[in-house]
Amino acid sequence: MNATNRIRLTKMLFIAPASLFLFLILIFPILYTLFQSFYNKKLTQLTPPKFVGFDNYVRALQNPEFWNSVQITVTFTVLALAMQTVLGVALGLLYHQTFKGRGLLRTLAIMPMAAAPVSVALIFVMMFNPTIGVLNYLLEQIGLPKSLWIYDSHSVVPSLALVDTWQYTPILMIMVMAGLASLPSEVFEQAKIDGARGWQTLWHILLPMLRPFIVAAVVFRLNDALKTFDTVYVMTQGGPGNSSEMLNIYLYNQAFAYFNTGYASAIVILFTLLVLLLVSLLIRGRRAN
């Protein structure tokens, strides 16, 4: 075997196990879903399903409930990500400083990401109870108006975004810290010299340099946030009405509660395309700079 082929083989050997594994395990579900999306299959029917071409897709795209879910998913994601990014950057900067107690507090700050989403969701359901929940009690004590949290169609999505923020801000925080750590120290020296105008340094120089890290983190979270299921399912099941029916919840209902396997499969494909679209937009946006 000549040298080129040998190198090629070596490269393959490194990459092949993981790629092969993912391929094998995912190809069947992907093809199955793609395939089913062209049939009008229902899980509960006994007659063989009929081939319907793009009917399911058309039905989805013409369905206001589908678009409602898309809008809710995007709104939730934007809200959650906005909160997490701002908080994450702020915390990342904060914990980059040295101060007493930093280690302990930092550990406490990142703990939420280790908690089981389902457990967290249930605890929040308890805390969100408008009448006997502790959050409203606290609000009352401070003199702020009580909220209906997840029990009202207007406040449900922000409340869910809040839960997501609570849980995943640590990830953004850590990524920002990673970014700060890899920046050249001259930046900080400069700020020190500048003294009082240090904030300006921060804004104009530091943040742009941090951007690639922030974007990387946002992309990572974007992927997950769009597909949020566990917490929303446990907390609201898509209610009140349809006001928190994220795409994943809509999909789940179609597949497992309404047994519309064919239609649900089309939704999966559309969903995946949506995620792909949003993620590539974000990445392209970064490259443009």
Binding site: F14, G101, L105, I110, S182, E189, P212
Partner: protein, 277 residues
């Protein structure tokens, strides 16, 4: 890549501390509440106004949870599956990430990460059909395979950044010394990225441990995991909040402990490795 430098004066240290402490209150409050409710009696757990500090503690909920559900069995199951996932993720993922970083095979990395864009729910039915054929339902192996689809891309994505940080000269130096590519990988590169490995292992573990959806369908009586068991506190006629909180605490505790021990490595790993994506 300079070293970490902070740029403020010592006088501000207390200010920082105060700010950090203040911000961490919301994070902690939820855990605190989880713990408090689990220690309350059923009646108190729903009382209003809720008691924050002064109430009669009761360990009944923990007693209930530990006796009514085979908690230890679930714990062991979850441990086996999570550790298995982490291990397999490293064995498969580290070489792949290295390969991609070393030989700049970006197309592969895009492809691998793209697999995470598909909603996992769609896998459940076809996997059930597939796994049945191979007798993988209700087996640890089956669960590990399923969870790898989440953890493996994540490990690869994270580690690519770390491997990219390793200067090319190191590879070449090792090769000149007579190491094979693989040898240099194992003996030289891996030890250098130790902290990145720690970081991705922990993250993998967390995701595997907390996975709820896959085990519902793919696990059975023998391999049931903890998150699915949390739901069992929600019975037909009542949601026993105290028990639920106890269950939630017990499920979260092991990960938190692990996390606490390893967090130094995670943070150090993620901050020194540089994750640029």
């Amino acid at each position: 890549m300079g070293t970490v430098r902070s740029w403020k004066q010592p006088a501000k240290s207390w200010l920082m501390f105060a700010a950090a402490a203040l911000i961490s209150i919301p994070s902690l409050f939820v855990f605190y509440w989880m713990l408090i409710v689990s220690l309350k009696s059923d009646v108190d757990s729903q009382a209003y106004p809720p008691a924050f500090l002064f109430f009669e503690p009761s360990f009944k909920s923990y007693g209930d949870v530990l006796t009514e559900t085979p908690f230890v069995k679930y714990l062991i199951n979850t441990l086996i599956v999570s550790l298995g996932t982490v291990f397999a993720g490293l064995v498969l993922g580290l070489p792949a990430a290295y390969g991609i970083a070393r030989w700049k095979l970006h197309a592969w990395s895009v492809g691998i990460v793209a697999t995470r864009m598909i909603p996992g729910i769609s896998f459940l039915l076809p996997w059930y059909l597939l796994f049945r054929e191979f007798g993988l339902i209700d087996t640890y192996f089956g669960l590990i395979i399923a969870q790898l689809t989440i953890c493996l891309p994540m490990v690869i994505w994270l580690m690519i950044g770390f491997f990219e940080e390793v200067p090319a000269e190191l590879h070449d130096a090792a090769r000149i010394d007579g190491c094979t590519e693989f040898g240099s990988f194992v003996r030289i590169i891996l030890p250098l990225t130790r902290q990145g490995i720690a970081a991705s292992s922990i993250l993998s573990f967390i995701y595997a441990w907390n996975n709820f959806m896959f085990p519902i369908i793919l696990a059975g009586q023998k391999t049931r995991t903890l998150p699915a068991a949390v739901f069992s506190a929600m019975s037909f006629e009542q949601i026993n909040w105290a028990n639920l909180a106890a269950m939630a605490t017990l499920v979260t505790l092991p990960v938190l402990v692990l996390f606490g021990i390893a967090q130094k490595h995670i943070v150090a790993g993620l901050t020194s490795g540089g994750v640029k994506g």
